[in-house]
Subunit: 289 residues, 2 copies
């Protein structure tokens, strides 16, 4: 049994509890709030892999702390441009502590990254488009909430095709503010100025909350010199559930890499799918190849 | 530069020449007919990886011969039920000769296998459906040609959704045979008796030939205990071109595994996507994760 600890009790941490409990080859040995982990170090030493379900910006430092204890980690760090730097930072820590860090193991970055890599293998030349949504954008929601006069907000990303996106923003107003004025300031914000954005005034933003999300990865390209190959990957999913489930699969890969001495920091495109699945390689080859 | 030999000059072998010539990190050092390879052994010793583009049933024995020469191999062996046996057969040969065999590296089995494994990671419980076509089925075409009175035939697989398939069979008649009689015997053949099959009498079957094919992998399943996640992967492709391009990516992985001492026989679900791509891991992490 792989002994798993979950750090964080938000949407993803809660979903991860179910994913780990449903895994036949895993034992959930602890669920921790961030601040508890120092006190819980002795317990944590019993852990094979920690699922780091913390806000993205806190993840690398926390993973580093776990790795120094010889505990392998999986996180869903999602700032694409900073992934190479996080990988470089955690690589020597993981190697010198004989542990494995799998970073950016949500769905994008994460499972989508594996698909993008595979589409690139199949068609080395071509055009790719990533279309997100419909689903909540955390970044745009935070930006909308920061506009003066906005009491509460929710920004939904709408896929318009070929990598173009629109926004649907639900807002509640603070008393004394004019909707048209707030709307114009929101539309002028750099987060919204470049996309087709619809702003809707509502009584209660929470009525429109959703954890549903989706993605369409499209690629048209050339294989063996022949143009016009068309490939696509599509998901309609519950965001925290899919993130946590994939992190759990990556925890299995981290454990196996650690056990076989392949210490270091990995992104998902560096992992073999079979290492994320329960059961033996032989049985998965028989059923899935 | 990775030194590649191509064995076989059929549809896939011809496409593979283009794929290898287009690869920035590969050198095509030879194209061989099957029967030439014994004579060409000295030349072959210069080869890092041989792309085995031979009929499926001849592939394992030929790969074994190459492996004994210390040459890594990639094939597209496609009889799903026999893949575990081929893997077990080539494993010790590859290991003892410090080489790597990647088997069943077309699109199904092959790249589809990697997708199936990933869908299983993302949703451990659920229903999967594999829908093939429209495209030529070699097996059904051969079966139709074997019916008495059939001069030439072509069987196209039609996807009807949720893993169900229909067939459209074009036939030319031998002189003196009755179409209705031939049609009834074809429909009674075990290859066609279980699917909705349409038989069309034509003057020239070759007018309907195609190398186009397609697949839709569908999965509805549960992630972190939450049902209703919907995932799909779809391709519309040129069959030999995509097969050869993916084999070429797998040749890159075989080379890297051989160079780092990870000798043995692998199916595609045991490979990391990044190892199939040109360039450094670092640059692929930066652009694809």
């Amino acid at each position: 049994m792989i002994r798993i600890a979950i750090v964080g009790t938000g949407n993803i941490g809660q979903a991860a509890q179910k994913a780990v409990q449903n895994a036949e080859d895993m034992e959930l040995v602890g669920v921790y709030h961030h601040y508890e982990v120092d006190d819980a170090q002795c317990t944590m030493h019993n852990v094979d892999v920690a699922l780091v379900c913390l806000p993205t910006r806190e993840s690398p430092a926390f993973a580093e702390k776990m790795l120094r204890m010889g505990i392998s980690t999986v996180d869903s760090f999602d700032i694409h441009t900073q992934i190479p730097a996080v990988r470089s930072r955690l690589m020597p820590v993981a190697q010198s502590n004989h542990a494995v860090a799998v970073i950016s193991a949500g769905w994008d970055p994460g499972s989508d990254s594996m698909i993008r890599a595979l589409l690139q293998v199949l068609t080395p030349e071509g055009q790719s488009y990533t279309n997100f949504g419909p689903g909540r954008s955390m970044g745009h929601t935070v930006a909308a909430k920061a506009i003066a006069g906005v009491k509460n907000a929710l920004s939904i990303t709408l896929p318009l095709g070929k990598g173009q996106h629109g926004r649907h923003v639900y807002i509640e107003l603070e008393d004394g503010y004019d909707f048209e004025d707030v709307r114009n300031r929101l539309l002028a914000d750099d987060y919204f100025a470049h996309d087709a954005t619809e702003v809707e005034l509502v009584d209660d933003v929470e009525q429109y909350q959703t954890t549903a999300h989706g993605v369409l990865l499209e690629r048209t390209g050339t294989a063996s010199g022949k143009d016009g190959q068309q490939l696509e990957f599509k998901m309609q999913i519950d965001n925290p559930s899919l993130t946590a489930q994939f992190m759990t699969g990556c925890a299995r890969a981290a454990y196996r890499l650690q056990q076989t001495g392949r210490w270091g920091c990995y992104t998902t495109i560096e992992l073999a799918p079979v290492d994320m699945l329960p059961g033996t390689t032989e049985s998965n080859v028989q059923h899935l190849v």
